[in-house]
Subunit: 148 residues, 4 copies
């Protein structure tokens, strides 16, 4: 199983009045993980004039355990559950920091991203270079268990 491991640091301000990371703040952590994992320097450095927009079409998340504040970065594991023509499904497991004892799985999630051309505002195809680079991270999609 091939996954990227992205360390994502909590902020004190991610906590809400319950003293845990807020449910919406968890999606900010996922966003941080995918920006770090998938955006090359050319995207990051041209943020006000990017060559591609990464639009989120769908998200699903199961919160398995409340996330307390902690000073070590969480270990966010990412992989691609699907690599389509102009879209991709990023899968995540949000885990306690590497080497933390005991190990805790805080959440599992998936985001469907559509790559959009900022000029035409229309989806653009994943290039062959991107596909070659990203396909190394393909794996089974998340099996969600709480769809009820």
């Amino acid at each position: 199983m091939t996954r990227m491991h992205v360390p994502v640091r909590l902020r004190w301000n991610d906590l809400d009045a319950y003293g845990h990371v807020n449910n919406a703040a968890m999606l900010v952590l996922l966003e941080e993980a995918r920006v770090q994992a998938f955006w090359g320097a050319e995207i990051v450095d041209s943020v006000t004039n990017p060559s591609t927009l990464w639009l989120v079409a769908r998200q699903e998340i199961e919160y398995l355990s409340p996330v307390p504040y902690q000073s070590q970065p969480l270990d966010v594991q990412l992989w691609l559950g699907r690599l389509g023509g102009a879209s991709l499904e990023i899968c995540y497991e949000v885990c306690s920091p590497l080497d933390a004892e005991p190990f805790t799985q805080y959440a599992r999630a998936a985001s469907t991203i559509v790559l959009v051309d900022p000029t035409t505002q229309r989806p653009r195809k994943i290039t062959e270079d991107e596909r070659a680079s990203w396909s190394a991270w393909s794996d089974e999609p998340i099996a969600f268990t709480r769809r009820g």
Copy 2:
């Protein structure tokens, strides 16, 4: 079809560098809608010592159209897709402001909430009063179309 209509005002700060409401900020809007819709004054006014914790166990959202900044409050429609023993599924449609032309459906979403006793930290049953009050808002759960 019986739905609550909750007006939720955007904040300028909900926008990200793409100039639209950020994907995670959308979940903050859902949170605001459900706090306004479901929390009685006794919960709101005792936030640092609440009698019940509303823990989010699961969320799913489909983003149908980017949300631009606008000064009129969005119309967030809520209903209950399921009313269990100690949990409920809140369904949402996030729509353009009432009377806006043209009408836009920005997102559809669902949150599974578990009611937790803050003393025992364990799920507590939905009371008969709550069930009587909330069952008026029961309807079909969201039919998500992008699960792929």
Copy 3:
């Protein structure tokens, strides 16, 4: 004394783990108040292509009392402490909701804003129309007491 009164609603997510509105979230409330008070529809509706950027050059805030969550909008009072050539100083008092008992003053603050032309990225002069409209809100600047 002539002040604008802008109702600004808290969000549950403004609270941090101390159970009060976070210190940085207070500045988001100020931002909301000034957007509602000073931005005409033409600015709000052209957010991705605005005719003027409102850049914040400086802020100062004194937190007088912790802000608990409450369902009624806070009463944010605004006025202009200074109206310069290309900049203005907006003064604020953040107060408990109108008619709330007892009355509480939560914070006093000031923001210096520079109006910037998005094309040239340089400060642009306040127009005569803006000056005529805004000068009605001029008053003494805030007297801060905690500069130490």
Copy 4:
């Protein structure tokens, strides 16, 4: 001149629709820097039951240059401009990442913090241990230039 250097990573979500770090998000960065610099493990690990509350009484910030998104952590420099009986003034300079060319000073700021006992909700004295540890970081307070 003795300053702490705290690396603080931006998040994509810190940007607002202007494509720069939002003015209020800058205060979240300051909060992160001071949490990392001053909070011992015993505070961080007992966040829901802390032995001391760090309440912000006052903040002042001058924004010197817009902060673009960048993948390297900013270099937030901190020192103590004042060390009182139950309060301290933390001074900050927010700078471009270490080794970045060219060097940019993005902001200067100061926060007055009051240490509060969570049981009595009253200010508590800085202990001798804290004073001994923190006085190594004392220096001249910030000379703000935009007070007008």
